[in-house]
Symmetry: C2
Subunit: 177 residues, 2 copies
DNA sequence: TCTAAATATTTTAAATGTCAAGTAAATTGA
DNA sequence: TCAATTTACTTGACATTTAAAATATTTAGA
């Protein structure tokens, strides 16, 4: 996964560390701007570290991948299956990608494609019994991994982090919407 | 990019929302556990949303990709170039990946590979003059994008978020180290 | 001095991801 | 009723990513 480790963030860090704390508005405005870059890089590094850890464990323990786990997770709570477009939306990836991941899971016998009764263009993807059982085992361990990885932040810290992320996400959504 | 949108997080959400608030220790412990999952999913969704936005803008504005931008960024602050292994460490990707990205940038004339004088196995990658100029233009816009995207969080919120992420990252590092 | 082990990078295969084009089907509106 | 437009999904090309293996070189130690 790429991370935009922009060097100007480092430059910002160096500028901040040697700032004479003069406090003039322009300096403070610049500091605030660079804070965004540093924050972004830290968030990216943190998310990637956790994600890489989870990917490696899924591969080692179950011989599967995170996108496949993700798709199974979406289907687990949809007893009647989901359409490809809906999977695309929930997984936040393009339709072509969902096609490929569903193909792989179908080949493994974990999901099945069912023609849509009302729209011959569409198909629904549904968990097989085996897929459901496997998913339940993976989900149990996955949950323990996440609990362990987030164990260094106490309850109030988690509340704060959740709130700040929600605030950030809302603003981002408005910026690009 | 996959996200481990585990359905047990949703189950946690539903359980939490209909909890009778009895407050017994087991219920509260379970709630705290599920909070980790929800937090992880929110963090993942938020990071991916920002990352996707930046990727799309880099492609639209400069016809380049985030990993290539990332590599250029690493080189911008290394006037003498960097070895492949060092790029791999800084970009947090495997060596094989760095080879491919460097190949692409070299083909575009943005970087050049130089044989290492002290180790014939090694080579150093260095920005060309054109690469440096292009990177500076991209970095300027990239910084503005990040500032805009993080504009919804005030200075104290950014400080808090940064601190919490640092705490989280430190714990994760210890968990997997 | 020489061999074994370690290191640096590349290559290969597989998986995931986007974008654009293609195909089939549904919807819209004249 | 029928043609144009839109929609659902697949396909193909390209880029990125990993893990493992291969190749070349350096280092360590007997």
């Amino acid at each position: 996964m790429a991370r935009d480790n922009c060097s100007s963030a480092d430059a910002a860090g160096r500028a901040l560390s040697r700032s004479d704390d003069s406090g003039d508005l322009e300096t403070r405005a610049t500091e605030a701007h660079h804070e965004s870059l540093r924050l972004w890089l830290r968030m990216l590094a943190c998310t990637n570290l956790i994600e890489t850890t989870i990917r490696q464990r899924l591969q080692a323990r179950f011989g599967t991948t995170l996108p496949r786990f993700d798709l199974l997770s979406q289907l687990e709570r949809a007893p009647n299956g989901l359409k490809m477009g809906e999977l695309s939306r929930r997984m936040m990836v393009t339709g072509g990608n969902v096609t490929g991941i569903a193909d792989a899971l179908e080949a493994e016998g974990l999901v099945t494609r069912i023609a849509d009764l009302t729209d011959r263009r569409a198909s629904r993807v549904k968990l097989t019994a085996g897929g459901r059982r496997l998913f339940q085992r993976m989900a149990g361990e996955h949950e323990q991994w996440v609990i362990e990885l987030f164990g260094g932040v106490d309850a109030s810290g988690k509340q704060q982090l959740g709130g700040l992320l929600a605030q950030l996400k809302q603003h981002v959504g408005r910026s690009i919407g």
